[in-house]
Assembly symmetry: C2
DNA sequence: ATTACTGCAAAGGATTTGCATGTGA
DNA sequence: TCACATGCAAATCCTTTGCAGTAAT
């Protein structure tokens, strides 16, 4: 685990497992999901280790934290990007940063703020669910 | 409280107080802040009343719910709009919907999703804090 | 008179903390 | 060795629920 060493973190089994889980999942995961996942291999790991590890990996910039619908989610940090998530079936895909570049610049220019649009989750209804749900909900 | 009547809700003191607090605050408020606020007038109101009232006002469309930084926040429902919030001092201002219309259309066109950009909070650093913090944090 | 809303107490769940022990550098 | 990370238990916080009583319509 080069990343851990490089960032000055110790290479321990929990850290490796958590990083692997996030690296391979290619989706956001909540602390709870991560806990279940890691427990498949290491059944007695306590929640506190998950939470503490997530916080330190996040501080080190190895993973990123997002908040969506009241849930805290983590994922492997790649380049800045965004997510498009279906609120009905949960299907998730990523959106390139480029979609937001214009708005970002426009807002900065007009407000003087320096904005953080590094990671946004946009929710909506995917084509499938639009069809099956029609006008419902 | 015309809004309550119109929406078929009963006009009770908690509902009136919560609505007033949100209507006058002009910012997002968490259930906890609302609880403190309402308790200045009605000191023994229990949290459950706050939570239940918020949920029913939200279902009736009188107030809207957002999630930001892991916190659930409520505010008086005006037309769809967005917020620009300073992550350092908390200063908050609103952004007209128009900023996002283009991205919204673009994403819908290219993904087939029908997206929900009714209420987004964008975080950043306001001009003041950029000056005082410089490159810090 | 009905039935929605409230108050209270208790349950539930997620997250955090203290502290002793273990382990990677 | 020594600081950092872990395991475990308990504490805390936020939110929800059950139920009996109250008040709005």
């Amino acid at each position: 685990m080069v990343e851990l060493k490089t960032s000055g973190q110790r290479v321990t089994s929990s850290r490796v497992m958590i990083l692997c889980a996030l690296k391979h999942s290619a989706r956001h995961m909540t602390p709870g999901e991560l806990l279940d996942e890691v427990r498949r291999v290491h059944p007695h790991i306590p929640p506190s280790t998950i939470y503490r590890t997530l916080a330190s990996l996040r501080d080190a910039g190895l993973i990123s934290e997002t908040h969506r619908g009241g849930e805290t989610e983590y994922e492997w940090s790649d380049k800045p990007h965004h997510h498009l998530v279906c609120r009905s079936c949960g299907y998730e895909r990523s959106l390139p940063q480029t979609y937001f570049n214009q708005v970002e610049k426009k807002i900065e220019a007009e407000s003087g703020f320096r904005i953080d649009l590094t990671h946004v989750a946009v929710t909506g209804l995917c084509p499938e669910c639009q069809r099956s749900q029609g006008a419902a909900r």
